[in-house]
């Protein structure tokens, strides 16, 4: 089954820019099988985050995005959120909630009644997500009292709590120390090994991207530079083309021991 498909997708942050042909994404087409682990790679400003936002209809687009075979332009926000959960690169806090309250917000779609009551299932899922991301002990802590890494894990837990089959993460390892990244990588791999789960991630850390992917989507100046199985693209030297730089040799030099 195809989880996400884009056909000649153009996207920009303003509708006028799209009309004037100044789009950031320029005619992206690909289709992603359910169960894939995809890493989107490209240099700064190549349109990686824009592609994630375009897939979940957060910015003006032209062309088609199909989620589970349905055209997303005809879908309501709730329907899109039930197909795809998306963790943004930067989440800002203006008012301080507790960690538990924040993760519970991920259960928005499942609220019942006029005032969106919380069910036992919601509590169970939230506690499970808090454990999975290693922040169960912080449940009662205020967001304003968290470190950058703890905050990042809180938002990750909220994204998990949404229980959508497609998980899109924009730089999930930002602010995280190595031990936490290792833990996060393990549970992302565990989550994506479950049937029907598709993981799409934007990463700057290439070794992390390689661990968390079996397919790659390479972007350069808003255009598709390569899409397919990781090994095939690497063998063709497309990673070097994407970054205009000998990435593999550079990474080999980075090994310290």
């Amino acid at each position: 089954m195809i989880a996400v498909q884009c056909k000649n997708l153009h996207a920009a942050y303003e509708r006028n820019a799209l009309k004037n042909g100044e789009s950031i994404l320029k005619g992206i087409s690909f289709s992603l099988e359910s169960g894939t682990k995809l890493a989107i790679l490209g240099s700064n400003g190549s349109g990686k985050s824009t592609l994630l936002k375009a897939i979940c209809s957060m910015i003006p687009t032209e062309g088609e995005v199909l989620l589970n075979g349905r055209d997303s332009s005809g879908m309501k926000r709730r329907e899109i959120a039930s197909c795809v959960s998306y963790m943004t690169q930067v989440s800002r806090i203006f008012f301080s909630y507790t960690v538990y309250e924040t993760v519970l917000m991920g259960r928005y779609l499942y609220g019942s009644g006029l005032f969106g009551g919380v069910s036992d299932k919601d509590r169970e899922v939230v506690e499970n997500c808090l454990r999975r991301t290693g922040i169960f002990h912080l449940a009662k802590r205020q967001l304003s009292a968290l470190s950058g890494g703890e905050l990042q894990r809180t938002f990750l837990a909220r994204t998990f709590a949404q229980e959508a089959p497609v998980l899109m993460l924009d730089e999930p390892a930002n602010h995280l120390d190595l031990k936490v990244v290792a833990g996060m990588t393990d549970y992302l791999l565990e989550w994506s090994s479950e049937e029907g789960h598709t993981l799409i991630g934007v990463y700057h850390d290439i070794p992390l991207a390689m661990r968390l992917s079996d397919s790659l989507l390479l972007l350069k100046d808003g255009k598709l530079c390569g899409f397919g199985k990781k090994k095939e693209l690497l063998d063709q030297g497309l990673l070097e083309d994407t970054y205009d730089f000998d990435v593999i040799s550079y990474l080999k030099q980075q090994v310290l021991f």
Binding site: K53, P60, R77, F94, E101, M105, Q162
Partner: protein
């Protein structure tokens, strides 16, 4: 433990409100004890006989003057505070309130036009001035939203704040010109802009109560959307909130609440800004509790401010807007720095 503490805090807030209301209806040139207040209430509501020592003028003072006035103050405080809480979360700006959207400027202009033109309509009678104020207030907000949508289809916070401020300044300028051109009405215009509950009747309280109850109920239905939208558009819509629709509905709802409050009483500042902040400090940011508690605390606070406004320099009345700021600023500092020390 946490739930128990929150429960205790809610009970204390309710108790505080009840005490404030007893004081608000009991104190004044003729002071009435809680016992006398209860006796008069039972007499009016259930036809019980009045005990000795309670004169007909006491009944009239309490039933016809003080209760409607205190009720109006409480309800208006609740409406202003509630809409302040909503707008702050929607625009992710702790300094915003529905006044930021131009409601008060528009309503003031509408009221000023009625005052200086001297228009009267027998059918609407005393409702003409508030109704015109309300229509102008809402029209200003709609214009702000219309301009914002034209520029930015996603109705982002900074666009709304910018247009709200521009339009408010523009409307205020017209108001200033009107005041200058019709200087004989200047005093009435200034008094209206400072707000007052003097002479408020049961009819006013009834209309305000209906709008307040409906508005509170509808707003509380959106408590989860407000929680999510206070993190920003992207976070809210990624979880499934239709941000444009929710934002539009909530902005209109809070404008109706503020517009109705302002048009019956004039512009009363500070409550909309400070009460929701104080409640956030005391009860946390979750809108499930923040919204009803903002209404309760805002209501009690304005009832208290109005009590002081009419009693401190009695028989002269101080504009209630001045009292809210005089009383509110230190209270706000106490809540803010007090809870900061504790955390």
């Amino acid at each position: 433990m946490r739930e128990k503490r929150t429960g205790l805090k809610i009970l204390s807030a309710i108790l505080f409100s009840v005490i404030v209301m007893i004081l608000a209806v009991g104190l004044g040139s003729v002071s009435l004890s809680p016992g006398k207040i209860m006796a008069i209430l039972f007499h009016k509501l259930f036809g019980r006989e009045l005990p000795g020592g309670i004169t007909a003028s006491m009944v009239s003072i309490l039933w016809d003057i003080r209760i409607p006035r205190a009720a109006c103050a409480f309800i208006v405080g609740a409406m202003l505070s509630l809409s302040g809480a909503v707008v702050q979360s929607l625009l992710q700006n702790p300094l915003a309130s529905s006044y930021t959207l131009g409601v008060s400027s528009g309503a003031s202009l509408g009221a000023a036009i009625i005052i200086v033109s001297g228009i009267t309509l027998p059918i609407l009678n005393y409702l003409l001035l508030p109704l015109t104020g309300f229509v102008f207030g809402l029209a200003t907000v709609l214009l702000v939203l219309f301009c914002s949508v034209r520029l930015d289809r996603n109705l982002r916070s900074h666009t709304i704040i910018l247009f709200g401020m521009i339009l408010s300044l523009f409307v205020n300028a017209i108001l200033t010109m009107l005041s200058a051109a019709f200087s004989q009405h200047m005093q009435r215009l200034i008094l209206w802009q400072m707000g007052s509950f003097s002479g408020r009747r049961w009819e006013h309280a009834g209309i305000l109560l209906a709008i307040c109850v409906a508005g509170t109920f509808l707003t509380c239905m959106f408590h989860r959307e407000l929680d999510l939208m206070s993190f920003g558009e992207e976070d809210a819509s990624s979880v499934g909130v239709d941000t444009s629709r929710s934002r539009f509905l909530l902005l209109i709802l809070s404008s109706v609440l503020t517009g109705a409050a302002v048009c019956f009483t004039g512009v009363i500042g500070f409550i909309d800004l400070a009460a929701p902040h104080a409640v956030r400090r005391l009860f946390g940011a979750s809108h499930r509790i923040l919204l009803p508690m903002s209404a309760l605390i805002g209501g009690a606070f304005l009832a208290l401010a109005d009590l002081l406004a009419r009693t401190v320099l009695s028989p002269q009345e101080i504009p209630v807007g001045a009292v809210t700021a005089l009383l509110g600023a230190p209270f706000f500092l106490w809540v803010y720095f007090g809870s900061r020390r504790r955390t």
